[in-house]
Amino acid sequence: MLKCDLKTRLGDFLLQLKFSLPSDGITVIFGQSGSGKSSLLNMIAGFDQPTEYGSIHFNDQNWLALSPSGQIEKTSIQHRKIAYVTQAPCLFEHLSIKQSLQYAIDRQHRNTVNDQDSYPSLTDISQYFNINYLWEKFPEQLSGGEKQRVAIARAILSAPQLILFDEPLNGLDENHREQILGHLEKLQQKISLPILYVTHNMEELMRLADRVLVLEQGSLLALKKISDILSDLTLPFSQHQQAGVVISAKVHSYDEINHLIELDLGDNQFLWVTSPSTNHLADEEIRLRVYAKDISLTRQPAKDSSILNIIPVKIIGISESGAGQSIIKLSCRQQNFLARLTNKSIQKLSLKIGDEVFAQIKGIAILGSRI
């Protein structure tokens, strides 16, 4: 559990918030630039301290207790057992890549790892991030993407109890972004460490977050599970061009001939999703993304449609999104979906809150599997 309660002033800017997070999974700290995301991360790391007051606790450790009168008690950076990956990767210029990784291992926050032998080794992690070929090189010889991969690998090798990421994919080209994002998605399977991830990028948010802490101008706007955040009509995400939901569902069966997996939404409601991979396990939990633009609604289920997924849903919210369009919030079993419709269609079908209708889902993307 990470508990924060702090207030700090940076010139005219005031950052004041109070929250507590469970210590598992990936929490994305989301907000526009200047919303105080990085400042918050720096204070959790111990790189900065609040100007007014603050208390930060991680599990049973007291990281910071700063009273308004200025009395302070804090844990130094090296004793917080964290790893910090910054936007501009900070490698040690006098060390080769292998020495840099070894640097983290030599100082590994040992008692964090219960079982030393099961913790990924230098070779494991190097292979995972594909940085073996860089071992003998020096930071000045690496590209931006290579540096960031090394920085992330080094962070993990230090065996921290919490990893902090500050927009690690900023400034990288599309290929490198995609490559590293792929590594990060699967990271939780390899090491189950809590991660705080700062970004203002929707794609990273959708693919990585288990829960989201939304900051707006220095205060806490929302702190919820990713599925609740994306489908919340009062938050800006639902108005975004890329609006949509992220849901998790269990694999029910696999249709080998048609490369389709059948996913269980609960209570005998299923979705069909194309998956090129054949090695899905029964009951494996899969993360899916459904964009609002890919859902249309009908009063009656279409009998002769090419669309595979037509499910009964209930309208639980409608929000005007401008330009003659609205976002409709739908519920099916425990899952929520969003649909973007023109106001004209809404009038035509006279849709209103509480109506039971059918959702035709045109596209579903598999984001990654989490066991």
């Binding site: 950076i77 090296q78 501009a88 210029e93 006098h94 640097y103």
Partner: protein, 229 residues
């Protein structure tokens, strides 16, 4: 014989003085330079100024004040006498004190700017990986500033070798105790022993030249480390 016995004694005394002074300079100068590079203390500019003074003051001025400080009725010199039962004036120890003050800017100034070039984030990253302050100095700061450290130590060493004004004021000309090469050279000229003067002068010239070549190489005027994959 290239050098007479007296001169050989002076050469060794000078080397000894420069070595001990450089050693003490590193012990005092490196932490001081680090502090100056990181502090926002109001006294910073004042301390920087004091350290830089020997660069522009005539050495005789420093020597004069040191001589006053070393006089037996001064509290500083009394404390020293009580501690080591020897006087600072006209002694080798006095020369070491003088040299340290005289050469301090040659260590502190280049090291301060070398330390200022180390980004804060580098040290914080090391700390987040579990490195204590002491660990950071040995594993990050020292290796990252290795060249600058060697170069400034060499400069301080060479500068101490050539010291004249202060030595004359506080050390006088006692063979085996305070007679360094530059003083011995001066004496040869005074007594018109030009050949001996030539030998010593040439020695200092060659030494200074070699040292400067080494420093320039180290401070990267010729780009040293280019590695190819």
């Amino acid at each position: 014989m290239l050098f007479e016995n007296n001169d050989i004694t002076a050469i060794f005394l000078t080397l000894q003085l420069a070595s001990i002074s450089t050693f003490i300079l590193l012990i005092i100068g490196l932490p001081l330079a680090w502090w100056l590079a990181r502090t926002h203390h109001r006294a910073k500019i004042l301390i920087e100024t004091f350290i830089a003074m020997p660069l522009i003051l005539p050495p005789t001025v420093i020597g004069f004040y040191l001589l006053l400080a070393f006089s037996p009725d001064n509290i500083l010199s009394q404390t020293w006498e009580n501690l080591f039962s020897s006087s600072l004036a006209f002694s080798f120890s006095g020369l070491v004190v003088g040299s340290v003050i005289y050469s301090l800017p040659f260590i502190v100034q280049p090291m301060q700017s070398a330390y200022e070039r180390i980004p804060d984030l580098t040290l914080k990253t090391a700390a987040s990986l579990g490195a204590s302050k002491f660990d950071q100095s040995l594993s990050i700061i020292l290796p990252m500033t290795k060249r600058a450290t060697i170069a400034s130590a060499a400069l301080a060493f060479a500068h101490t070798m050539g010291e004249f004004g202060i030595v004359l004021m506080i050390g006088g000309n006692i063979p085996g105790e305070t007679q360094v090469v530059s003083i011995a050279l001066f004496e040869h000229v005074e007594s018109m022993a030009y050949e001996e003067a030539h030998n010593l002068a040439l020695l200092l010239l060659a030494f200074s030249f070699t040292t400067l070549v080494m420093i320039n190489t180290l401070s990267g005027k010729t780009k040293p480390r280019v590695r190819h994959a």
